[in-house]
């Protein structure tokens, strides 16, 4: 519980600091549906959507609602060992201006410890635009899942989920970095149904002068497996 409070405190501290920079705040629902295809193959469909309510740059201080974007993703995954999985995926993004296509390749590695488990995810993706050159990104995410009752997660118990992802991106010879830190409370309904609610704090434009940006999302996600 103390860890929960510290992380939330840190996020709120960052939020108040972030007021001085370009900052946005919004809601971020997401849901995924996975099912087996063949013995070691599986399909995952994922929906995620960002809805902005505050943007310090646009002086949207009256909490005006704005649909930021919606992503529709599909992955085909192959489990190589009980601990390693590879996926290829496709994403269609619905966004004001231009809808985009993205191809995704990833490797996920599960690390088990006696009191928690960690998922390592290495991902590269390529985004295609009509009138701009290809955006290439390389990402590494570390996500920990810590049971809050006992050593292993049983049905109906809760867990703490903490993750950080570092993203390197390059487009037309210009590169940049993005960081995504999340802390969430997870509800382990059973292995095939998990619900997570928490904060997702994103910072980007590290390498672009005077454009450093903070984005804070209240994120809630449902993970369903058939």
């Amino acid at each position: 519980m103390r860890i929960c409070i510290s992380i939330l405190g840190l996020l709120f501290f960052t939020f108040s600091y972030a007021q001085e920079n370009r900052t946005t705040f919004g809601l971020f629902p997401e849901a995924s549906l996975s099912y087996k295809l063949l013995k070691n193959y599986s399909i995952t469909h994922k929906f995620e959507s960002q809805h902005g309510f505050y943007d310090s740059e646009n002086l949207n201080e009256e909490l005006e609602y704005e649909h930021t974007l919606t992503d529709l993703q599909t992955f085909i995954g192959r489990r190589i060992t009980p601990f390693i999985k590879v996926d290829i995926g496709y994403q269609y993004r619905i966004e004001r201006g231009e809808n985009t296509h993205r191809t995704i390749q990833q490797v996920s590695i599960l690390q088990r410890e006696s009191h928690f488990r960690i998922g390592h995810r290495m991902r590269i993706d390529q985004t295609f635009f009509n009138n701009a050159s290809l955006l290439f990104r390389a990402r590494y995410r570390l996500k920990g899942q810590i049971p809050l009752q006992g050593e292993s997660l049983d049905n109906g118990e809760n867990y703490l989920s903490v993750s950080n992802e570092l993203i390197y991106m390059i487009q037309s010879g210009e590169d940049d970095l993005e960081n995504r830190l999340t802390a969430a409370l997870g509800f382990y309904i059973d292995d095939k149904n998990k619900f997570e609610i928490g904060l997702d704090y994103r910072t980007d434009d590290y390498l672009v002068k005077d454009r450093f940006r903070h984005r804070i999302w209240l994120k809630f996600g449902y993970y369903k497996t058939l």
Partner: protein, 190 residues
């Protein structure tokens, strides 16, 4: 927005209802909830007051309390029945701590059955009467105790790619094995 929330709430409530039927449970419990008999045995055997975590476990058929504590840098798990009578002691060990008489046979089994394998967790398991288990902890005396090895391992064959839990006897012969189904990783992968 409210439609999203409503939908999530409905899915959440329906599945939560179904989930209650499963009965495999491991829960942290307070020391006060543990039968005195168990606490007395533990104090007697491990002498000084060590930092102990207590758990309650059930698979629907068997109900036990388990104490987890460290001694000589080794993690000990001590299992008690619901009345507090000690049942067995499991000690987490490294590969090179497997006793000589079992080592060769265990590794022969791995080499002849799998093209690739790796050991993930090894526990030596001592089962016996209270006094004999106490002698094990106090004097490292193994008289009258049944010794088994519980080994969690990953084994690859031409057809299979599985995580197993194998139970081997004191001479290293396989008694039984079962598949370990890891929890889904959808929330870690996507």
């Amino acid at each position: 927005m409210s439609n999203y929330l409503r939908l999530l709430f409905i899915v959440f409530s329906v599945t939560y209802g179904i989930a209650q039927e499963k009965n495999e449970v491991e829960k942290r419990v307070k020391k006060d909830d543990i039968p005195n008999l168990a606490k007395e045995w533990l104090e007697e055997a491990f002498k000084q007051d060590r930092k102990t975590k207590w758990y309650y476990q059930t698979d629907g058929e068997k109900y036990v309390y388990e104490a987890k504590l460290k001694k000589n840098k080794h993690l000990h798990s001590v299992e008690f029945d619901m009345e507090g009578k000690v049942k067995n002691v499991e000690i987490k060990i490294k590969e090179n701590e497997i006793k000589q008489e079992a080592y060769q046979t265990i590794f022969n089994y791995f080499k002849s059955n799998y093209t690739r394998y790796s050991l993930k967790k090894i526990q030596i398991q001592y089962t016996g009467e209270s006094d004999d288990l106490e002698n094990l902890i106090v004097e490292n005396e193994m008289k009258n105790l049944v010794i088994n090895y519980e080994i969690e391992y990953y084994g690859k064959t031409d057809k299979d790619n599985t995580l197993w839990e194998g139970l081997f006897d004191a001479e290293g012969r396989l008694i039984e094995k079962r598949v370990i189904n890891l929890k889904l990783t959808d929330n870690l992968d996507y």
